[in-house]
């Protein structure tokens, strides 16, 4: 979008065109952003709708390969919505629709010939609440490789490797056959990360992975993310700004803006830059207000 006034239209149930105008001052964000070298996922003018409600609008964003990118912003500004649109998890929600283009390694993931299943295999996801399967620890890890028909010469090795990478092996190696439900919350979340690593994705999306964990478990996950960064691209939504400042290479700040006509709060990208820049000298006043705790 190069025009000064951003306008977008969508049809409501009654097929009547509605237009939301965003003031000029917000338009600058799509200009002059530092290019992300080595981008693995790129969003161009992404809009996400839940039926007629537009949750996210006009997001242009590139995620660097083998970097950690943090998405921050007040709750309800569409961070989770955008994250889910990166691996087509939004397909599972009735009425959710993505406009614009999301490319993964240069290919549009919403192209007609692209299989959402394959997209999700390449771009894994860790959820807010740890969601281990009601199976043994071993079977939690082996599940992914089994369902995607991964050629693993030795499943035991694969399980050990995934658990080791997720810094969980020493804690669980003697109880692999026990139910995953017996683990603590932090262990469960690391199990979910291990489970994701086991299918060898390129990107791992994390939606507030530490929000239900205590500080010690949180710091273990942060250490883990930092180690995984060598091999994986990580995109993390977090409401914890210190966390973003600690782990992320780049940070994108989102906010929600109420439409004058409908009062719907639509999320948009305010500023995207190196984390250091965002936290030390943000270009946008709203970023600064949010970072300094004056808002949100």
């Amino acid at each position: 979008m190069t025009t000064n006034t951003r306008a977008a239209s969508y049809t409501t149930g009654s097929d009547q065109k509605r237009t939301i105008h965003f003031p000029d001052e917000h338009a600058h964000r799509s200009k002059g952003l530092p290019a992300v070298p080595n981008a693995i996922i790129e969003c161009k003018d992404v809009n996400v709708y839940y039926n007629a409600f537009r949750a996210v609008t006009g997001v242009d964003l590139a995620f660097g390969s083998k970097e950690i990118t943090a998405l921050i912003g007040p709750s309800g500004c569409g961070k989770s919505t955008l994250l889910r649109s990166l691996n087509r998890m939004n397909d599972l929600i009735d009425g959710a629709r993505v406009e614009g283009s999301v490319t993964f390694q240069g290919e549009d993931i919403y192209h007609r010939e692209v299989d959402a299943i394959e997209v999700r295999r390449r771009i894994g996801m860790v959820f807010q609440k740890p969601n281990p399967f009601p199976k043994s620890i071993y079977d939690n890890i082996a599940y992914g490789p089994r369902v995607i028909g991964m050629k693993a010469s030795n499943m035991d090795d694969l399980v050990e490797e995934a658990l080791t990478r997720a810094a969980l092996w020493t804690e669980v190696k003697d109880k692999l056959k026990q139910s995953a439900f017996g683990l603590s919350g932090g262990q469960q979340q690391r199990l979910c990360i291990a489970r994701t690593i086991a299918v060898k994705p390129d990107v791992i999306l994390m939606d507030e992975p530490c929000s239900s964990l205590d500080p010690i478990a949180t710091s273990r996950i942060e250490d883990l993310m930092y180690e995984l960064r060598e091999d994986y691209t990580i995109i993390i939504v977090t409401h914890n700004m210190q966390q973003a400042a600690r782990v992320a290479d780049r940070t994108a700040f989102f906010t929600a803006l109420a439409s004058e006509e409908t009062g719907d709060r639509t999320g948009l990208l305010v500023e995207y830059d190196l984390t250091k820049k965002i936290f030390e000298s943000p270009a946008d006043q709203r970023t600064e207000d949010y970072i300094s705790g004056r808002f949100g």
């Binding site: 691996n87 998890m89 599972l92 009735d94 299943i117 394959e118 999700r120 295999r121 390449r122 894994g124 996801m125 959820f127 609440k129 969601n131 281990p132 399967f133 009601p134 599940y143 992914g144 369902v147 995607i148 979910c192 489970r195 994701t196 299918v199």
Partner: protein
């Protein structure tokens, strides 16, 4: 009551608290209501208990091994339930084999795949709910009509009875399976799909296995209801005097409720005792089945 006089404030406070007693648990109206409720419970339970006890007394003399080993006979002292027990096992077994896969598949479709915005899916849902309340004899008539349409002459065959009972059990299985599926958290499905599993793999390897206890409970309860049914089978012309063991899908049969029904209509008192003994046996089987259902639910139900 001295504190009432200690000050105006205290007086007002205590007065307002005491005001709450009106309409509380000890007012005359609520006590009366409570008594009425107890009375209802007592009447219902009393009737049931009397019935069971009299049946027990009547049937106790015939509760022996002959009851399960002998064939029906014209002399009550030589008669037993053997073919009826085997007939019940055959019919209920075939019913289970036919309806459980069908009912589970239907429930999986409705719960996991059907687009709820489509009118026909909503219509099917509504119908399934209503079917569970249809009197069993209607299903007997339906099966009768269906068999007649197929040109089946002899409708008193195991598969015919299983068809009628299957129609009866199917809605129960569909509904309980849907409830079991719905109890599996969305997060489990999402976790599976996020690993690159297909929706079908997710159902097959996550949602369904986690629902098995709920499905088993529902299926057992549905089948135990079918086990006690006589009406739909009588409509299909179930035999009342069978002196052979049923041995296949096309074999003639009788079932326990039908045999019991037949014995009660005989004039001799000994046959009535036999019927009572049969009833007790049927009750014990039903009790065991429901107990198993409760056991499975408590023991294996996943707590999320």
């Amino acid at each position: 009551m001295t504190f009432l006089t200690t000050g105006l404030g205290a007086h007002i406070r205590s007065a307002s608290i005491r005001g709450k007693v009106r309409g509380g648990e000890h007012s005359a109206r609520s006590v009366l209501f409570l008594i009425a409720l107890w009375l209802c419970l007592f009447v219902a339970f009393g009737v049931l208990l009397t019935l069971i006890i009299t049946t027990l007394i009547d049937g106790s003399s015939r509760l022996d091994s002959r009851l399960v080993t002998e064939y029906p006979a014209s002399g009550p002292e030589r008669a037993g339930l053997r073919p009826a027990i085997l007939g019940s096992i055959w019919v209920i077994g075939v019913t289970a084999v036919m309806t459980i896969p069908l009912g589970v598949a239907a429930a999986v479709h409705l719960e996991e795949f059907a687009d709820r915005k489509k009118w026909f899916n909503r219509a099917i849902e509504l119908n399934v709910q209503n079917l569970a309340a249809v009197p069993s004899i209607v299903y007997g008539l339906l099966a009768l009509g269906f068999l007649a349409l197929l040109g089946v002459q002899n409708k008193n065959i195991v598969i015919g009875g299983a068809l009628a009972l299957g129609l009866l059990v199917l809605p129960v299985i569909i509904i309980s399976t849907r409830e079991a599926l719905r109890a599996v958290p969305l997060e489990i499905r999402q976790g599976s799909l996020a690993l690159g599993a297909t929706p079908l793999q997710t159902v097959w390897r996550q949602t369904l296995p986690a629902s098995v206890p709920g499905i088993a409970t529902g299926a057992i309860l549905g089948l135990s209801r079918a086990l006690g049914e006589a009406a739909p089978l009588l409509v299909l012309g179930a035999l009342v005097f069978v002196s052979f063991d049923p041995n296949g899908l096309l074999s003639g049969y009788t079932t326990m409720p039908i045999q019991i029904f037949n014995w009660t209509s005989r004039p001799q008192a000994e046959f009535h005792e036999l019927a009572s003994a049969g009833s007790i046996l049927l009750l014990l089987i039903l009790l065991a089945m429901n107990g198993l259902a409760i056991f499975i639910r408590n023991r294996y139900q996943q707590r999320w």
